[in-house]
C-alpha cells in the first residue's frame, strides 16, 4: 500500500505532464489498494493474538476501568468554569461568525482554505515524524507536500490524498508521549479548549515549526490563525451540538473524547 503511494506520485506527475486527468488514477489506486488490503488483513487475522483480551467479560471490563484509562483532572472546578466560558464563546461568537462566513463563502472554497492551512503546517508533521522515527511517514508527508504545493496550486487542492498518499498527523505532544511522557493532567483552556499539560507543552513547541508564526508583522499571524479557526468551524457546525445532545455530562464527555482520541493517535 505504501509502495502504491510512491508509485502514484510518479504516475500523477507523469499524467499531469501528459495532460491526463487524475480521476482515473485514483480509481486504479483504489482497486490496487483493495488487493493489498486483502492480503494485509488476512495476515493480520492469522497473526492477531486475541481480540478477546481487549474486550470481554465483566471482570475484564473492571480491569479496563481501573487501569488508568481516564485522565487525571485535579483542576476540574477551574476547567469546568472555562468549559462554560468556551461553550458560550462558541454559541455567542464563533458559531454566528462561522455561520455568516459559511453563507458567504462556498463550500469548495472553504475546503481549499482548509487544504491550504493543512499543507502549510507540513514542517510540524515532518519534524515530529522524524523525531518519532517514523521515516516512511516523513517521506510520505514530504511527497504529499511537494505534490500539493506544486500540482495542488500552493496547497489549495489536496492531490496527495486523491493519489493515496496518507497523511501522518504527528505533533510534539504525541512525540513526547512516544518518548515516555504521560499526559500529566487535563487542562481545558479558555479559547483553545481541551488539552493536557503534556499536549500544551507540545503545542507551544509546535508553534515554532508553524510557518504562520513567521508571517512578519504581528497582525498577520493571528489574522491567519483566526481565519483558520472560523473556516474549520464552518466545516463542522453541528459536531459540538451533537456531542452535547448525546452527553449526560458534556464536560466529562468532551474530556474523555479528547483523551481517547489522543491515545489512539499516539498508538498510530
Amino acid at each position: 500500500m505504501k509502495r502504491t503511494g510512491f508509485v502514484f506520485v510518479i504516475a500523477i506527475l507523469c499524467s499531469v505532464s501528459l495532460g491526463c486527468t487524475c480521476s482515473r488514477q485514483s480509481t486504479t489506486s483504489y482497486a490496487a489498494e483493495e488487493g493489498f488490503g486483502a492480503q494485509r488483513v488476512q495476515l493480520a487475522s492469522i497473526q492477531t493474538a486475541s481480540l478477546q483480551d481487549a474486550s470481554a467479560e465483566e471482570e475484564e471490563v473492571e480491569l479496563v476501568e481501573s487501569s488508568g484509562e481516564t485522565v487525571p483532572d485535579p483542576l476540574e472546578p477551574v476547567n469546568r468554569a472555562f468549559f462554560e466560558f468556551n461553550d458560550k464563546l462558541y454559541f455567542w461568537v464563533l458559531k454566528p461568525v462561522a455561520t455568516g462566513y459559511k453563507t458567504v463563502v462556498p463550500e469548495e472554497v472553504r475546503v481549499c482554505v482548509r487544504n491550504f492551512f493543512r499543507n502549510l503546517s507540513f514542517p510540524v508533521r515532518l519534524v515530529n515524524n522524524v523525531l518519532q522515527g517514523k521515516f516512511f511517514g516523513a517521506f510520505e508527508e514530504t511527497c504529499g507536500f511537494l505534490v500539493n504545493s506544486t500540482v495542488g496550486l500552493g496547497g489549495l487542492a489536496d492531490i496527495a490524498t486523491a493519489i493515496d498518499l496518507k497523511r501522518h498527523e504527528e505533533d510534539l505532544g504525541q512525540t513526547l508521549a512516544v518518548y515516555g511522557s504521560g499526559p500529566a493532567f487535563y487542562i481545558n483552556w479558555p479559547f483553545f479548549g481541551p488539552s493536557t499539560l503534556r499536549d500544551t507543552i507540545g503545542t507551544a513547541g509546535d508553534i515554532f515549526l508553524d510557518p504562520l508564526t513567521y508571517l512578519g508583522d504581528y497582525w498577520y499571524a493571528p489574522g491567519a490563525r483566526g481565519l483558520n479557526v472560523v473556516n474549520e468551524t464552518s466545516l463542522k457546525i453541528g459536531d459540538y451540538e451533537s456531542l452535547k445532545k448525546a452527553a449526560l455530562d458534556p464536560y466529562v464527555a468532551l474530556r474523555d473524547a479528547y483523551y481517547q482520541n489522543r491515545l489512539s493517535k499516539i498508538k498510530e
Binding site: 488487493g35 488490503g37 488476512q42 474486550s55 473492571e62 479496563v64 475546503v111 489536496d158 451533537s242 474523555d256
Partner: protein, 199 residues
Amino acid sequence: MRRKGWTGIVLLALWAVCGFDPAWAGVPTEKIKETTDKILVIVSDPALKDPSQAAQRRERIRKTVDEMCDWEEMSRRALGRHWAKRNEQERKEFVRLFGQLLERTYVDKVEGYSGEKVNYTGERVDGDYAEVDVKIVTKEKTEIPVVYKLRNKDQRWWVYDIVVEGVSLVNNYRTQFSDIMAKSSFEGLMQKLREKSAE
C-alpha cells in the same frame, strides 16, 4: 506457451477476486454492510424526506439499528463494575433508558446524512469477537475512521461498541456514568437518564 496463457488467466481471476469482491469480507462485515445499506436506502428515499414523514422515517431507522446493536451488552459494559450491584429491575430500566439514548444519538447522526460514502477497509475475527473497520468519507473529503466491535451471540453478530476516531462510545459513557455515580449515586444517574430521555 499454453502454460503461460493459463497463468495469465489465473492471475487475472485472482486480481478480479481481490479487486472487486474483497476476499476478506466475512460475516461481521456483511452484517454491518447490510444494516448500513438499509439505512442508506431509508435516508435517501425521497418519499420519506417530506417533513410529514419524519416520524415514520425515524421509526424505520430505529428498527434497523435495533437489528444490529446489542443494547444490553452496551449497557453492561458502560456500567462496568456497577452492573453487578444492580438488581434485575434496575438493570432492565437502565437498559431501556440508555438504549433509547444511544438509539436516538445514532438516529440523529444518520438523519443528517448528506452523501457520505462508506468504505469497508478491514475485518478481524477472533472466536466470538470481531472488529469491522469502516471509513466514512464526507462530502468535503474528510475521512472518519470507525470501528464496529461485534460479538457472536446465538449464531448472530451483534454490535456492542462503536469507536469513532479512536473514541469508544461505550468508554465515553462509562467515564460519564462513573463520574456521575461518584458524585451522586446510581439513582442520581437514573434521574439524569430519565431527564435526558424526556428532552
